[in-house]
């Protein structure tokens, strides 16, 4: 029986191997969010991987708004049982269901919305959360966003709506790794106090300092769950390190959208033990 602690290392191996084969994809943010995906899918989320439905009634839902970190989503979905782990080898290759950015277009179980063009996922999650309320469905809706993604205006349209209309069955998480394509978020466009911004929009704000500590992420997500149903949407500002888990990839925007070469892959895999078996 696999332990939850076995997942992060294996998922990082999957991410590295997935982007290496097509020499394309986004490993940095994927590796920074590996503990978040592990905590969400293998501990917190109440979901039915073997019987996926688009409607998702009677389940918690997750929407990935920063769709470029598709490798960590695909690895997590496959290892949750949504589709065969062997399919991870098709990532970004012609005729794959594992498109560069997630899509519903090819019927991949586990994906309910296309994402990639940034800033759209929070609105979709708000709609899905309202649908749950209309259906009398007490399950929760989760989202993940990049911090750079918050530069998109639609995020704040959705944030204003969710706060004002008390969409309190919604838990958004911001991957605050401080990095985006052109450099650090402070260099590109400083966003100030994100927690204060969400609070001003009527959200219940939590701060998670150690987003690469699996138990800390599990605890934060559980606490966020207890704070739903109180008249406010909940947001977790989660600090992570882009590229976490491999020393030469960690903490730099250089690995945002660059795949390792053969040598780099070997060095990176040496730091991520094969805990659950490679695909």
């Amino acid at each position: 029986m696999a332990s939850i602690y076995d997942y992060p290392s294996q998922i990082r191996r999957d991410i590295l191997r997935m982007v290496h084969k097509p020499q394309s994809g986004h490993p940095g943010g994927s590796m920074g969010c590996t503990e978040f995906f592990t905590a969400l899918y293998f501990d917190v989320l109440r979901h039915n991987p073997s019987a996926f439905t688009m409607d998702g009634r009677g389940e918690d839902l997750f929407f990935l708004s920063n769709g470029h970190i598709s490798p960590v989503l695909y690895s997590t979905l496959a290892r949750s049982g949504y589709f065969p782990v062997s399919e991870l080898s098709t990532f970004r290759l012609i005729n794959t269901r594992l498109q560069g950015h997630p899509t519903t277009h090819d019927g991949l179980p586990g994906v309910r919305i296309a994402s990639g063009s940034l800033g759209q996922g929070l609105s979709v999650a708000v709609g899905a959360a309202q649908a749950k309320k209309l259906n009398g469905d007490k399950h929760l809706v989760y989202t993940l966003h990049g911090d750079g993604e918050l530069q998109e205006g639609q995020i704040w349209e959705a944030a204003m709506y969710a706060g004002a209309k008390k969409v309190d069955n919604l838990i958004a998480t911001v991957d605050a790794n401080g990095q985006q394509i052109d450099g650090s978020t402070d260099e590109v466009l400083p966003m100030g106090d994100l927690g204060a911004k969400f609070a001003a929009f009527g959200w219940d704000v939590m701060h998670l300092e150690h987003g690469n500590d699996l138990d800390a992420v599990r605890a934060a997500l559980r606490e966020a769950g207890t704070r739903t149903g109180q008249g406010k949407p909940v947001v977790i500002i989660m600090k992570t390190a882009m590229g976490h888990g491999v020393d030469f990839m960690a903490g730099t925007h250089k690995w945002h959208g660059v795949a390792p070469n053969d040598d780099e892959l070997a060095r990176a895999l040496a730091q991520c033990p094969e805990t659950l078996g490679d695909y």
């Binding site: 409607d55 296309a114 996922g121 609105s123 979709v124 708000v126 709609g127 309202q130 709506y161």
Partner: protein
């Protein structure tokens, strides 16, 4: 002379409002969203009778489109309402990714399309929306001609699965479609049979085409008038059947020549049965302030312009 009578001019947006209210009563899965234009879109009756199924998003059209996509996840059928300009160009990427590519069952309902929005001017008079929306894979595009047809099209959309764009307008125009005529998505209506030329019209220009056919008849010219209320999927068969008989076409629409019904007719004929075409449409320009009638006259979008185009195409 064409057999249709104006049963009393009404705005097509009121047809949408009436259809939406009827859907609220007949289909418990229908929900509606509006971005601060509830009165203009005639959605207030629905909002009042079904407050739990009505979502006021504020002036946030991008969010409204995403939220509508989300509401489909859980089985709801969302109808979004705002002006055509804010329903398409302003939110094109949201529609493209979250609705069209994601195959979400969202009905994008757009009022105040085209020049007949009038005095507000070109910022609001979108003339590119049919083109924008028909380019999106899987998007159904409907442009009804009058109040009764808009109401029927609204009701038909709830029973149709998939993303759709419904375009209507602000001014009171002739209402001639029988009130009990159901709307069939993808099916064009031959309103008047004729032998000398085909007038393919959509939206507000359909009544103008009927009036033009009377003028032409008085000159001994037999025009066939077809209402292409569904732009996509296009009723290729209806067009080809008519043009096989008449051999020439005038298209008429309140839209840019680029990207509209005229383009679609030209493409279809070019591929299947080449024939002379004249297009009554806006020719690569923005609109301006004025009354709807003044604007339709200045930009050549009325019965007189259709007659002129018919005479031109007849001599080719």
């Amino acid at each position: 002379m064409h057999p249709y009578t104006n049963q009393g001019s009404q705005d097509t947006r009121s047809g949408f409002g009436a259809g939406l209210l009827e859907l609220g009563r007949s289909n418990p899965h229908v929900v509606a969203l509006c971005a601060d234009l509830t009165g203009s879109l005639k959605m207030d009756a629905f909002a009042k009778e079904f407050p739990e199924r009505f979502f006021q998003t504020g002036i946030a059209e991008a969010h409204m489109m995403g939220m509508a996509a989300g509401l489909t996840i859980g089985g709801w059928i969302p109808f979004t309402g705002t002006f055509a300009n804010f329903s398409t160009g302003r939110v094109y990427d949201q529609i493209r990714q979250s609705i069209a590519y994601s195959d979400k069952n969202v009905k994008i309902c757009a009022s105040h399309a085209g020049l007949t929005l009038g005095e507000d001017g070109a910022t609001h008079q979108i003339l590119e929306d049919i083109g924008l929306m028909k380019m999106l894979p899987g998007m159904t595009v409907i442009v009804p001609a009058d109040y009764n047809q808009t109401k029927a099209a609204t009701i038909a959309l709830a029973a149709h699965h998939g993303p759709a764009y419904l375009r209507f307008g602000r001014p009171k125009v002739a209402n001639f479609t029988p009130a009990d005529k159901p709307f069939v998505i993808g099916k064009a209506d031959v309103l008047v049979e004729g032998t000398d030329l085909t007038i393919a019209a959509t939206g507000h220009l359909v009544w103008e085409a009927l009036e033009a056919s009377n003028t032409l008849a008085a000159q001994g010219i037999s025009a066939e008038v077809i209402n292409f209320a569904t732009i996509k999927p296009f009723d290729t068969e209806a067009l080809l059947k008519s043009v096989t008989k008449t051999g020439r076409v005038v298209t008429a629409e309140e839209h840019q020549r680029h990207g509209g019904l005229g383009d679609l007719v030209a493409q279809t004929l070019g591929m299947h049965r080449p024939a002379p075409i004249e297009m009554v449409a806006v020719n690569d320009s923005f609109g301006e302030s004025g009354t709807p009638a003044q604007l339709m006259d200045k930009y050549g979008l009325n019965a007189a312009a259709i007659v002129e185009a018919a005479l031109r195409v007849r001599n080719r």
